[in-house]
């Protein structure tokens, strides 16, 4: 019986498959992950450490914040996510308030503070939130 050689297409397929198995098995594949669920708004409140100018971003917990969508921005690229036009919360121990369902591709008016303890005055900012969502870091003013 004549030996059967693998056809060119099958050979290419086999080679690709074996290479893929080898890559996965050897653990040398650079795993570049792009997380597909970018969305929403995260408000972050921070302040400098008084006696140490090299430690500038101390997260501040318990700071109330809220926001209202001002207008949609269809001129921005990407797909809009979220349905909430109003968000409200208090920053956690990491100094964050996260609003995953806030409408993106929009302008937002965000208000941070006031809080008595820790004492932060109220600040208002108008920010552009792109389709992928955004984080806004606010320095607490006392």
């Amino acid at each position: 019986m004549k030996p059967q050689f693998i056809g060119r297409r099958s050979f290419g397929l086999t080679l690709s498959l074996l290479l893929l198995i080898a890559l996965l098995g050897s653990g040398c594949m650079a795993v570049i992950m792009d997380f597909p669920f970018q969305r929403g708004i995260r408000v972050k409140t921070t302040m400098n450490l008084v006696d140490n100018p090299t430690a500038p971003n101390v997260p501040i917990p318990n700071v109330p914040n809220f926001g209202d969508m001002a207008s949609l921005r269809d001129d921005l690229s990407g797909t809009r996510t979220g349905t909430d036009t109003h968000v409200q919360g208090t920053t956690n121990q990491f100094g964050h308030s996260t609003y995953p369902n806030a409408i993106t591709k929009a302008d937002w008016a965000l208000h941070v503070g006031p809080s008595v303890s820790p004492p932060c005055f109220q600040n208002t900012f108008v920010e552009v939130v792109p389709a992928a969502g955004a984080i806004f870091e606010f320095f607490c003013n006392v």
């Binding site: 050689f5 693998i6 050979f11 086999t14 080679l15 074996l18 290479l19 080898a22 890559l23 098995g25 050897s26 653990g27 040398c28 795993v31 992950m33 997380f35 669920f37 970018q38 969305r39 929403g40 708004i41 995260r42 302040m47 400098n48 450490l49 008084v50 006696d51 140490n52 100018p53 090299t54 430690a55 500038p56 971003n57 101390v58 997260p59 501040i60 917990p61 318990n62 919360g89 208090t90 956690n92 121990q93 990491f94 964050h96 308030s97 996260t98 609003y99 995953p100 369902n101 008595v116 303890s117 820790p118 004492p119 932060c120 992928a132 969502g133 955004a134 984080i135 607490c140 006392v142």
Partner: protein, 323 residues
Amino acid sequence: MSKGVSHPLFFVGCMLQILVVSCMNSSPMPVSSEVVLFSTISDTPFRDCICSVETDGSNFQRLLSPKQNRSYLHASGNSLRNVLVVTVEELGPSGQIEVHMYLYHPKDGQWRRLITEEGMEGAGYISPDNSRIAYVFAPASQPKHLRTWIRDLKTDSARKLAGDDNEEGAWDGYLSWRPDGQELVFLRLNLTADGVTSKLMMVSAAGGHSNTILDKPEGIAASCYASDGKRLAILSKSGLEILELESSRRKVIVPLSVLPNVQLVMGSLICSRTQDLIAFSVFNRESKQYELWTVSSDGTALSHIYNQGEKDGKLTVSSFIQK
């Protein structure tokens, strides 16, 4: 030349061998049985994750990757074969974001809520013998009192440590266990008219009065017990220092002049319990990179082992952990 050599499968075999050998060479042998555990807090929601690297900076691994409605803010542990305490940001049943601490077993992937009381949950730190968790918590009845608590995992009982104050507006954070599990240090932070102040405090794991080790003017950003339990590593305005607890003698082992253009990251300092090794992270304002450094407690073997771009998120080290 024999027919076998010209056969296509021979070529495939050679390619595989070359690939596997080259990959093995690209992953150097581990230098220690410990890895550095760190969190990456991203610039966009639901991209926070828990990662690790070897103590030489090789073999980056993402241990807990974010999911659609869940991401990971902080993790602490002693071994990847034992329980970790993980702070999770997740979408609650009401559609609001909630932060909860969980006990996570990497071996079987099991998750269990650490506390069921209502309140603000922060970061958790597991004791060296895995029997207790020290954590930052404010009960719903006292939302402004973010303080250090301790939970015994055997009895499932919890109590507030260092409950001897009524400082409204002060909050605790950035805890470290003494290697014998008898004591903890933490930072007590306070927002004043000038900014945030920090005091380095010490408290017995059995509870009671907390003592101030270093007061506000020192500008302490982080601390951890050295492996001997007699010294503390501290990040201060002078750089990385070693403080001998008995004599109160201090020595700067990495002055900030050695690390130009850097900003310290609050709480990002860990000490190994099994070897003379300290790890810390800083943000380099010039390169816009978070840098992970290791050094011995005498200041030798300072090594920049890993870095990641600002856009990848804030890097905060949380534990040396056995593989």
